[in-house]
Structure formats: structure tokens, C-alpha cells
Symmetry: C2
Subunit: 328 residues, 2 copies
């Protein structure tokens, strides 16, 4: 029997818990430990058997893990955590600040090259699976347009922005693609769509005691970039409703390539995700890329890579021969 | 400016013409020639500039091409053409006899290894893009079921089988996925579906003079494996209608992964293709893999591979840095 791949989780938030759940579904992996900046005594892993430790245990580079899956936040944690841990371990992250990916890639690559470790950055679904579909669509069908629609699902960033407004005690924001837009794209029309023509936004808000509902509503719908360009609905609910009806973190969306081949035929490639849990799905993708990072290191292919650089065969627990037989 | 990749087409049927059209859409490729077993004088390329030659011109291994795209039939041509040409050239094929892919891969690999050439077999959409989606779905979501639905579109094999029946002068068969099945799968039910619960079949048939319509209908719907397990409709039409209304070769379908992650959330990844022209789309995929085969050979990565082994970055005409910036 082959040795199992030992996974370490760095950062135990929503994504970290998703990785814990995902590793338990894998035939070839074991969870070596959860590493947090918080005091381990204050954290409870889903399984009592999982060691929970301080990130200090990673410092010497000798923790018993093959790949660290970094589950920190993209804004404040990963820009320093990813290069730092790539200096000692194979890593995978889900860095999602699209505009800064090249910079992040360069920083992680430098660390991983020196350390002779393998890193895969910006995995997950967007960036991640959706990025792959965008690349494939464009490579197979060079004359066309690619559309990405997000939702229906909870946008963490937009929810946070509402929560920070005066008079707001709690909030969840759903991003919803406009059916009219998807239908136009599916129909092969290749429309030019503005932000507001692609998505609408629904906000569920718990008011702070004494807050003025109309003022909160106005502060939301008039917020530039975040809500102003969109058809935005604001619903006021109670804290109990927020907890009972909006605790799940669903998400999803569409990548659609609409194109013409040389003889004038319309061609459409559409990928749709309907995710009951965004963090559990994202975590599952990270875990598959952790397998790839492990294999890259085994064969001496060091440095930082992205999902674009990974041969699909590296993602599967199955042998290539089995994949050719069963899935090709 | 980089040199353009010189493509040769071997076999000038529907797929071969599709490749001719696709190469014209690529910024980094040029069509070096079309090679046919038929007399070149009898063939007319879509563009007058394209050299049309006999396959004999390939014999010495010195034809001015970087990659040959083999467009012969899977049943009778590719089993010998692919290993043969891999002995002298980089090749790509669309071999679609799923059960025999391992055998085909081994034969092509042996030839390509000796010749230090790179080959990618069984590319296209199924096998091809659909295979990739099956692998990704299973790797990301190990606990679930994968469904493939084909259509609505023309099945070449089923059309051929009808054409060979006594009393039939012409025929086209459409495979149509059952909406009830797709809805059940999309709803996360993970049903067990028999062949007949997944697809139905519509046949448009031109009778030979004096043929008995009822006998032909009966011969079709009772045919084991091909039609008997399915709800099959037979429509009798004239030769003029066949030519006017059934000349296009649309196809498409769905790959759906329905699964649960460890916390119990339902997760769905769905890929849908709606192809105005099956051969033009298949050809476009082959052309992108020809680019990958060229690059593999450039870096000394010889032998036969499948779509599972190819990093997505190799498919695009763009630089990796450009892809990271624009599509990740
Ligand atoms: N690529 C994609 O498709 C995709 C999709 C979804 C998310 N993401 C990325 O994933 C990142 C992480 O998402 P997330 O939902 O897991 O964020 P999160 O729950 O806020 O967790 C982020 C970090 O905050 C710390 N933390 C968590 N709960 C805490 C608490 N109660 N008190 C103090 N600190 C706490 C944890 O680090 P410590 O344990 O060290 O304290 C954790 O690693 C996001 O920033 C996003 O960039 C990417
Ligand atoms: N992987 C996928 O998704 C996918 C999808 C579609 C098709 N395919 C594969 O592609 C293969 C080729 O499909 P196709 O539609 O191009 O088949 P096709 O039109 O029947 O052509 C097959 C070969 O027959 C010869 N030929 C064509 N027209 C002829 C004619 N009028 N008279 C005599 N010979 C003729 C050509 O070779 P010469 O020029 O040398 O005579 C040609 O290469 C299929 O067998 C299938 O396996 C794969």
C-alpha cells in the first residue's frame, strides 16, 4: 500500500473546516494537523482525533506534513502566509485577488524555488475551476466571447460591506445572475453586458436598535461600485430569521463561451456550478490540487504554479491507466 | 515573431474540413497541406491556396509539417494511421472507440517513443472535453455520481445503421436526452438511469422506391441495443426534405457531477455543449491539442498522451503570463 499524503491545514475558518471535511472523503490522504494563529485550546476540530496546534509548530519546517493547505484570508493573510510557508513546505492556496495574482505567484515562486518545494496558488472555483473553463473555452473556440456569471449565492465581500454600515446589526447579501442576460448569451447573441445588466443583488439586513430603516436602505443602494450599478433589493429581517434562514453559504454561477467556428456554426460551451456550500466546494478543489502539489514535488518539479499549469491526471487519486479506461 | 506551427491534415472528410476552417482562425498556425488517400486532383480544398497532396508525400517523413492532425475514421483508419504516422511525425487524433483506447494509446506510444515524436490521442469532445469534465468532477467531488447525456444531435453511427437497412434510401438519426432525466440529476437526486430512461431517438427516413414503411419502421424500432431500449420515433420524409432540413450536423450534451461534500452539502458541476457543427467543434479541439503536441515535442516530452495528461496552458496561443493576468 502506498503511503497516504499528509495534509496540514493552516487557518481554521470556514475554508479550513471545509478542508477537514474533504480530506476525510479522500482514499489517499490523512489529516496530519490543523495549525492556527489562535490558541489551540480555544479551537475544536470536527473530529476529536485531529491534532490542533499553534502555527508555531510549523516554524522549524519539520512538521509531519506533505502539503499545507493555506486557508487564510486573501486580503490580509495569504500575501505573507503563502511565501512564508512555501519556504519550508509544499503549499496550496486559494488567493482570489485576481488583479494581484501575478505578483503573488512571483513571491511564492521565489520562495518555493529556493526551498525546492511545490506550490499551487489561486485554486478553488473562481479563481480555479472557472478560470480553467475560461481558458479552455478560449483555446478551443478562439473567435467568440466568454461570460462569467456569479450566483445565486452569498457574496462574503458585499455582506461584510453592509455589516460595517451604521445602523446594521447583521446582513447577508445574495448575488443573482439576471435570467435575461443568461438567456441572451445562451441564445448565441454575444451581447455586451454592463455589470447591472448581468446581476442583481438581494440584501437581508438586521437593523441595530433604533436604526432608521430608510436611511440604511438608501446607504446600501447608493453605494458606488458595490450596489449603485445594480438593481438592489433590501429586506429587513430579525436576528432570529438571519440565523434560521441565512446560515448556509451557497454559491455558484456560469462560465459560458459563445463562439463561431470557421464555417459559421454557433458553438456554446457552458459550465454551471450549483454549490450547496461554497467553502466546502472550494476546499474540495484545494484538496485535489494538494494531491497535485505533492506529486509535483515527488518528481522534482519545484516552484509556484497555477491551475493552468496542472495536468488533470495529477488531480485524481486513481492511476492514469484506470482513468484512461474508465473516464476517457 | 515566432515561427508559425505548420499543420498537416490527413484525411479530408467532415473532420478534415473542420480542421482546415479552424486553423484559419488561429493566430499562430498555418496549414501546410491536406493529405488524402484519394487522388488529390479529385479534391477541392476550401481555400485555393492550400496544397492538396497524396498521403504518399508523407512517406519519407520529410513533409514540411510540425503536427499532423489525423482525421480518418476511428473504426477503419486510425488504428493503423495513428501508429504509422507517429513513427515520423507529431500527431493528434480523435480516436473514439472508448473500450479500445488503452490498446490504441500503447500502439501510438511505442511508435512515438522510438521516433522521439509527441502524440495526443482521443481528443475532441467525447472523448475529449467531456472526458476532462468527468475527471475533474470526480477528482473535486469524490462522493457522487457522474452522468453523461448526448444530444440533441445527429449520431453518425445510428444514422449509418438505418441507412444500411433494406428499403431505406437515406436517413438521419437524432439522439435526444430526456428532460425528465436531466431534471432529476440537476435536482441532486442521483438517480440510477437505464439507457432508455436517459435518451430517446428520432429517425428521419427516406424510403427506397416500393419499400414498405411499416416494415422499415418495425426493423428500426426493434433493433437490439441501437433502438430497442429507447423510445424511438420514425418520420418518413422525402429526399428533398432530407437535404433541405437535415444537412447540418449539430450535436452536444451534458456532463453532470452530482455529489455531496463532507458536511452534507449538495454540489453540482454541469457542463453543457450546444454545437452548431459537431465536426467543426471537434476539429477546433484537435487543433488546440496540436499546439500542445508541438510544444511537448519542443521540450523533449515524447510518446503518446491523452487529454488527461496535458496542462491547460499548453492549449492556448497566449503566453502563460498573459493567461494568468487575463483569465485566472
Ligand atoms: N478561489 C475561490 O474560489 C475561493 C472561494 C472561497 C473563498 N476563497 C478564499 O478563501 C479565503 C478564506 O475564506 P474563509 O471563508 O475561510 O475565511 P474566514 O472564515 O474568515 O477565515 C480566514 C482566517 O481567519 C481566521 N479565523 C477564522 N475564524 C476566526 C474567528 N472566529 N476569530 C478569529 N479568527 C478567525 C482563521 O485563521 P486562524 O485559524 O489562523 O486564526 C482563518 O484562516 C477568502 O479570503 C477567500 O480569498 C477563495
Ligand atoms: N472525439 C470526438 O469527440 C469525435 C467527434 C466526432 C468525430 N470523431 C471521430 O472522427 C472520425 C472522422 O469523422 P468524419 O466525420 O470526418 O468522417 P468522414 O467524413 O467519414 O471521413 C473519414 C475519412 O474518410 C475519407 N473520406 C471522406 N469523404 C470521403 C468520400 N467522399 N469518399 C471516400 N472517402 C472519403 C477521408 O479520408 P481520405 O481523404 O484519406 O480518403 C476521411 O479522413 C470519426 O470516425 C470519429 O471517430 C470524434
Amino acid at each position: 500500500m502506498k503511503d497516504e499524503i499528509r495534509i496540514g491545514i493552516v487557518g481554521y475558518g470556514r475554508l479550513g473546516r471545509g478542508v477537514e471535511l474533504s480530506v476525510a472523503q479522500q482514499p489517499d490522504m490523512t489529516l496530519a494537523g490543523i495549525y492556527s494563529r489562535r490558541s489551540p485550546g480555544k479551537l475544536t476540530a470536527l473530529s476529536a482525533e485531529t491534532p490542533v496546534e499553534s502555527v508555531a509548530a510549523l516554524e522549524k519546517g519539520d512538521a509531519p506534513v506533505d502539503v499545507l493547505i493555506l486557508c487564510g484570508g486573501s486580503r490580509d493573510d495569504l500575501p505573507h502566509q503563502s511565501p512564508r510557508y512555501a519556504r519550508q513546505y509544499n503549499i496550496v492556496d486559494s488567493y482570489d485577488h485576481h488583479a494581484r495574482i501575478p505578483e503573488h505567484l512571483a513571491a511564492v515562486d521565489e520562495a518555493a524555488q529556493v526551498a525546492q518545494r511545490s506550490a499551487i496558488i489561486s485554486s478553488g472555483w473562481d479563481p480555479g475551476l472557472f478560470s480553467l473553463q475560461r481558458l479552455i473555452g478560449e483555446a478551443f473556440l478562439p473567435e467568440g466571447k466568454t461570460y462569467t456569471f456569479w450566483g445565486e449565492g452569498v457574496s462574503q465581500g458585499h455582506s461584510d460591506v453592509i455589516r460595517r454600515l451604521p445602523g446594521v446589526a447583521g446582513a447577508v447579501q445574495y448575488t443573482i445572475p439576471l435570467e435575461s442576460a443568461i438567456e441572451a448569451v445562451e441564445g448565441g447573441e454575444q451581447p455586451e453586458l454592463t455589470a447591472g445588466e448581468s446581476h442583481r443583488r438581494e440584501c437581508y439586513v438586521v437593523l441595530a436598535p433604533g436604526a432608521d430603516a430608510e436611511a440604511v436602505r438608501e446607504a446600501i443602494v447608493s453605494m458606488p461600485d458595490y450596489f449603485e450599478p445594480y438593481q438592489t433589493q433590501v429586506h429587513f429581517i430579525t436576528q432570529a430569521q438571519l440565523e434560521a434562514e441565512h446560515a448556509e453559504i451557497p454559491h455558484g454561477g456560469y462560465v459560458i463561451r459563445s463562439a463561431e467556428t470557421g464555417g459559421g456554426a454557433s458553438q456554446l460551451i457552458q459550465t454551471r456550478l450549483a454549490l450547496g456550500s461554497n467553502p466546502e466546494f472550494t476546499a474540495s478543489v484545494l484538496v485535489a490540487y494538494a494531491r497535485a502539489a505533492y506529486r509535483l514535488c515527488e518528481r522534482g518539479d519545484f516552484g509556484a504554479k497555477t491551475v493552468f499549469d496542472i495536468a488533470p491526471v495529477l488531480l485524481s487519486a486513481k492511476d492514469p491507466a484506470e482513468l484512461y479506461r474508465e473516464l476517457l
